[in-house]
Amino acid sequence: MLLDVKDLKTYFETRSGYVKAVDNISLDMERGDVLGLAGESGCGKTTTMLAIMRLLPSNGRVLNGSIHLDGLDLLNMEEEQLRQDVRWKKLSMVFQGAMNALNPVFRVGDQLVQAIRVHENVNKEKALKRVEELFTLVGIDPKRATNYPHEFSGGMKQRAVIALSLICNPDLLIADEPVTALDVIVQAQILELIRDLRDKLGLSMIMITHDLSVIADVCNKAAIMYAGKIVEKGDIVTVFKHPEHPYSQGLLTNYPSIKGGKTKFKPIKGRPPNLIQPPPGCRFHPRCPYAMDICKKEEPEMVELEGGHFISCHLKTR
């Protein structure tokens, strides 16, 4: 198993109390898996990933759980060892909006060279050679390494930050909303690149996005999050074609598609709860059309329906 997250609980300390951003979630991935993590803003997708990277802001607390990457216990590792051995070499991340975080006063190639030399003991020439290889891999003309970020188009900047995340051959790449700010044709180009990297390098990836069509386009596994919990997970076809949790069903049936005629929307009523005081029982029950008495009192457990399809809902477990 490449990544094994068990019962992860991550809260944020605030003046009005603990924000229960990620509450007892478990995830696992095999090598070569591309996992899509979907959910609305504030459901805890990014917090989960920051906890895995150990990059939580200073008020973030991991209260429970374990995270193992390729057998390494990430939560009990010294910061220095994590920095030297894990980050970027085993686990790297393309942050949301990273394409706008390239330093405008340095050449793009030099920024990659610098990152390589921080992690690996190589001279400048070798690092430059590596940058050229990476640029070719992500579809940028290697001659453009001497350009400044403003000379790059949006799509090229996104390719450059993907190259930046690959400088040390990571085992697992986490990409947070990698295509959200891009135009549709550029988005398709980047999605092609991501599928290409998956197939060529056998790269394992986690895609965090609220865009379900992007997940359907590149992932082989999916997990749906709601209010700090994973409500359903499994292989992509099962989750997308036969969703069992009322929240996944609501999200998927209301997702606009270019295929097929107009569908009648049946929007999910209400909005996600405040995570300082989430509703008791199942966190989705105030919005759930099928809510029963037990849903208001008892928290549903995650159970396996069949072949790796997990769901946490009283409707299915009774």
Binding site: D183, Q187, R195, S257, I258, P267
Partner: protein, 327 residues
Amino acid sequence: MSPENALIEIKDLKKWFPVRTGLLHALRSGEQKYVKAVDGVSFNIRRGEIYGLAGESGCGKTTTGKVILRLIEPSDGEILFRGRDVTRLKKREMKEFRRRAQIIYQDPYESLDPRMTIFDFVAEPLIVHNIGDIEKNVADALERAELVPPEEYFYRFPHELSGGQRQRVAIARSMILNPDFVVADEPVSMLDVSIRSSILDLMIRLRDDLDISYLYITHDLATANQVCDRIGIMYLGKLVEEADIRELVDEPLHPYTKALIAAVPVPDPEAEKSRAVISGEVPNPVNVPPGCRFHPRCAYAMDICKKEIPELREVKEDHKVACYLVK
């Protein structure tokens, strides 16, 4: 199409923004350059219709919407609203036009005044247009936007509301004067996925109940597919194709439209994957290519495409395309 059917007719609309080049350039008698954001666009919007205008960023779709409302003055062309040219209206007639034509902006976090209560914000158009019975009108408008009970929202401020609720407030305000025409500029792109469908649903219902026509501006063909009746595709300031939404999605004719549609991912893991059929990105709008603006990226470009600008012409009933490939 008979003109009686059309609420709005746009004829050869242009908006050119001058590029500031500085004194030195002017002294060297350099010619004035323009960003031709909208460059000769013509289309009609029928009564009670949702007309989509789609394209990538920088194609001129938002400028077109704003020019139609004269929030930006057009450089050239006609905008006929019920047969009268909006660009020639006198001041009083213009006020009447403003009552009948409204806009919903993209970002409800920016478009609401943070210092105004919801009541004041929604009531403002009534005060400007001197319409009485404010409290009842505001309550009705909020209720129509499904903010119930309306009284509960009267004295709240925008920061107390979620994105979806804010967009509903913006919709309530734009509907309070019973407009005939609303420009909706990417009304759901800033909202969360689970809320998008309910806002689109609301817009469709208001259309059905109040017979409003919309210009729905979007970069997202998937939502356009769900709400529009007809759609126009823009590329670098020009309309390249226009058709009924079903026809356009199922049988696109222009190579650019085909590329756009192929690029849209489908929320179905078993469907065909999105493809980037064309490479590169939209060129700089200051130096637009001669001839067909799409020719440098077009796989089928012929000699004529590099020299002459193809006209938008009807090739099938209600299906127009600007391309030399299409006979």
